[in-house]
């Protein structure tokens, strides 16, 4: 009999939906570091990362319990998308709040922890870079899109990608290499600025 650790993400989601709380614990432990790192690399603030991390998993719990989880085999990509949307929501909200309060001198712009590290403009700019990259992926040949999505968005190893797409590891690596070359060429041709701040 398999232990919970050996079950797939989908099996764990299904068990949790049926009331097995340990299944959710295993699922969270499997991805907590990756989700946390994903959030932190964008917001660069530990306190904010903790908040968004909690909100991300709470949203995931609600969605699973409402029976609305339908991302077969793509749990990490799905939960990272939830985190991504929460990050955008947060900075949109904060930008609006700052615009109003700066005039009334209630907002201490110098002591803002977010601004002292990375400004809202920097974060939105990084967000734009990531969006441009995602859009460029959409222009790649399908087999290259597939390998980029699996590697970067679903965090699969090249071995796993090779198995899923039924090609050799060398072919998967080759597709990734061509995908990156194509994206660099696209960025150069369209003058897309890809520097993260």
């Amino acid at each position: 009999m398999k232990t919970l650790d050996q079950l797939t993400d989908e099996q764990l989601v299904s068990l949790y939906e049926q009331g097995n709380n340990t299944a959710f614990e295993v699922l969270m432990m499997r991805y907590k570091s990756k989700v946390y790192a994903y959030i932190f690399q964008i917001v660069r603030d530990r306190e904010l990362t903790e908040d968004i991390f909690q909100d991300t998993f709470i949203k995931a719990i609600v969605t699973i319990q409402q029976g609305r989880y339908s991302e077969s085999g793509k749990f990490l990509g799905w939960i990272n998308r939830i985190a991504h949307n929460l990050i955008i929501d947060h900075f949109r909200r904060e930008k609006n709040e700052n615009t109003v309060s700066a005039d009334s001198f209630e907002y201490d712009i110098v002591n803002s922890s977010k601004l002292s590290d990375l400004s809202i403009e920097d974060i939105l700019s990084n967000e734009q870079v990531l969006n441009d990259v995602v859009r460029m992926v959409g222009f790649l040949p399908i087999v290259q899109q597939e390998v980029v999505r699996m590697r970067f968005f679903e965090d699969l190893s090249f071995k796993e990608i090779a198995e899923k797409t039924q090609v050799s590891i060398n072919t998967a690596l080759g597709r990734m290499r061509y995908a990156l070359l194509n994206m660099r060429r696209m960025a150069a041709e369209k003058d897309v600025y890809l520097e993260l701040r």
Binding site: E25, F53, I61
Partner: protein, 50 residues
């Protein structure tokens, strides 16, 4: 344009450390207590177990 990503040592530390125990406990507690009941197509009732 060359892509430059600057990582500081504290960034790497934060990535390696991961979420706090407090965050994990809060999420697990919510996961254990939250259930939902579908009422109709788009309407759900939240149930918090005690």
């Amino acid at each position: 344009m060359q892509k430059i990503t600057t990582l500081h040592s504290n960034d790497l530390q934060a990535m390696q450390v991961g979420p706090s125990d407090q965050s994990i406990q809060r999420i697990l507690q919510f996961a254990a207590n939250y259930r939902s009941q579908k009422v109709n197509n788009n309407c759900y009732v939240d149930i918090i177990l005690s």
